[in-house]
Symmetry: C2
Subunit: 430 residues, 2 copies
């Protein structure tokens, strides 16, 4: 199976690739200067959409799992990057505690943490795995597919430190996204390095903040490269506190939709109009769509895809009134249909980073035919490093060149997350 | 052809390998702490001897060429390490000038500098190649084997800066070992980063200083690992200012050998006695030898191998009186016969480093059957990273495990060079 479906690409994306490759030294210098001012995330993973016309990040994960899907050949890069990351944060480090998700670990998730354990062990740390689940009380050995096994231990919390029995780590690495909020057991650990910080959890992050940060850095990189930033970022509108419950003063009896519906439909039309203009400008003969979602994960708001508000007629206000009842912070975001295919299967690259370095990635394959809906997951490991471009290959013909571009977008999204966390840092000086 | 002749190893070296692997986190931490106090060389290459009983560096090159012999798969590691190195030295860097050796470049040497150019270009720099040869006046394009070409330009020196026509670099990388001394054109470049510094040149370095630095760091690492430091370092004696010219007051007429001969033969016997004792301790049934060489390269002193002073009888004093006429600083060093074989050919690993990171290497194959004499060079690229050990493989059975050990010794030699350069830094505060 080809590592990269090079034949499916042509048109605008190839010009973008060309521009990225020509500007490689300038791009790398730009990132170097950014990292002088901003702190890269300890580790991260970014899902990227390649629409055939543009590229943009779809998801920036700050507690990435899936490390087991990286190619074996990429591991030395991860180890080297981990060495650099540790040296910067805590050079005297001896022990690292990895905190797992609270659910009973699946074989795939265990393979992920074992891979992380291997990387940090080779980078020079004793690594043990801990559970902060209140239901996990007994050290448990899990068998692995390769005949080895892995030990998960319940954490022990003292007044100021978190550890395991006979294991006092100087650094704690979270591999759980804290979707349900940061538990008390992780708070006030001022003597230890907690990576990433608690405010990187999804209970704190707002998607609109990330989009805004990303828009800012994409504009700056775009300006430096002399490209339209739209080619590397999605259009979006944010709607804070949109109300979908009719107030008593609203004429509910007359059947008028709540105010939030009107505001949202106006925003949908506005974003769609902007996207249509861009499609026209770039000669893209597809029907654009937008995705409506909440600022925060776990808000219970159903994500909705809209191609045309008129097509729905009165059904859309009715649907929104029913499903979005209450008051919500919403985003209307340009939809990014993936045009990448492995064979006939839609594919989305996921790029993994350790500190400021891209260390590998894989394709997330969608087993359903829809271009923008995930139904199942199959990894296809990147064979090439993102730092192995072949500058003289014709655009669109070289997998390493495409990977270089993905690596740039992934780092841009990670930089945006870095801005985002600076803005939300509870310990920041005002 | 096997990348590593694992079957030829057994005995003491396997125990050493086991100890290195078990101590991996401690070793990596030890290096991390050393690099907090000492500055790694920008780039370096170390030739290592594996005698089957012990390992030691034979040569620590601070202006390494041969980068073209690194495996293509290792390049991302070199690029990533170069990114880290640049970021530390000069994050705002745009332009890098590589200064070549003065001789007319051979195809192999050109391939080496093109590889370096590629690495630093991918790390985010505009890289051009310059000659400081007083005989090189015209920009010259050299064809490469792969159909591409490379341009070499004469350097331009202004009062404070070195550059090329329309190219003002912030950093200058020397890929010439300055064996003939630092030329004036490289002096007083206080506005630019000159890497490595001029006092890293062979006209300044003394081999005894490197041996002494290496002995010091090997003792410390050995202590930390609980191993005899002899297993990772050669025994040696230094003889400063040994006189091989009979003074007028010496009874030349009587045929008595100059004083230097007696001192040297005593040192040879002393080192041989110590080595014999170690061989006995470790049950090594071979005849030890020592190598006599000068402190400094280019001294004109012929290197001499001696197994037994008695075997030579009167021939040795006569040979030394003839060939070592004058006064010299000499080293008597334990000989390290290579026991590594690729097929039936003796092989010596050469490990390449960028900043503190091992980024690849190759075997130097000796086409002559002698175990300690180089006659011709054939590279055999390392397939594995030195940071890819397989901790559960039996000792001696795994190429990546052997490479890990080589990477440790190479870094130890580089650390010794770092100590050495600190001690000889003309700008150091006293």
């Amino acid at each position: 199976m080809p590592t990269h479906p090079t034949t499916t690409f042509n048109g605008p994306i190839d010009e973008l690739e060309q521009r990225f490759l020509e500007s490689m030294p300038a791009i790398e210098r730009w990132f170097r200067l950014e990292w002088m001012e901003h702190t890269p995330l300890f580790y991260s993973a970014v899902n990227i959409r390649n629409t055939g016309s543009k590229l943009a990040p779809l998801h920036t994960g700050l507690f990435p799992n899936g490390w087991n899907h990286l190619a074996e050949e990429m591991l030395p890069l991860a180890v080297q990057a981990a060495m650099a990351a540790i040296e910067k944060i805590c050079p005297e480090a001896r022990n690292l505690l990895i905190v797992l998700e609270n659910h009973w670990p699946s074989p795939d998730y265990l393979a992920n943490v074992v891979q992380l354990q291997r990387i940090f062990n080779r980078a020079g740390l004793h690594v043990r795995l801990g559970s902060i689940s209140p239901d996990f009380h007994t050290t448990t050995t899990f068998p692995l597919d390769d005949g080895a096994s892995v030990v998960l231990e319940p954490v022990l919390r003292s007044k100021n430190r978190l550890g395991l029995h006979n294991f006092d780590p100087c650094t704690i690495l979270l591999n759980t996204d804290l979707r349900a909020g940061a538990p008390g057991i992780l708070e006030d650990l001022h003597e230890q390095y907690l990576l990433p910080p608690l405010h990187a959890g999804w209970s704190v992050r707002h998607k609109n903040r990330h989009l805004q940060s990303y828009e800012e850095v994409a504009k700056r990189l775009g300006k430096m490269l002399g490209i339209d930033p739209w080619l590397i970022s999605p259009l979006f509108a944010t709607l804070p506190a949109a109300r979908f419950t009719p107030k008593e003063t609203d004429k509910e009896a007359t059947g008028a939709a709540p105010r939030g519906v009107k505001v949202l439909l106006a925003a949908v039309d506005a974003v769609l109009t902007k996207v249509r203009r861009k499609y026209k400008e770039y000669g893209i003969h597809e029907k654009p769509f937008v995705v409506i979602k909440a600022h925060r994960s776990g808000s219970g708001i159903r994500t909705l895809t809209v191609r045309d508000t008129k097509e729905w007629g009165a059904d859309l206000p009715a649907w929104l009134t029913t499903h979005y009842r209450g008051q919500h912070d919403l985003i209307v975001q340009e939809g990014l249909p993936t045009q990448e295919r492995i064979g006939t299967t839609a594919a989305e690259p996921v790029v993994y980073m350790m500190d400021r370095y891209v260390v590998g990635g894989f394709y997330h394959l969608f087993t359903q035919s829809a271009t923008h809906q995930s139904t199942d997951f199959a990894p296809l490991t990147f064979k090439y490093s993102t730092q192995q471009p072949q500058p003289h290959a014709p655009p669109g013909a070289s997998a390493p060149n495409r990977f270089y571009m993905y690596g740039v977008i992934a780092r841009l999204a990670m930089l945006a997350a870095s801005y985002e966390l600076e803005a939300t840092d509870p310990d920041a000086e005002t």
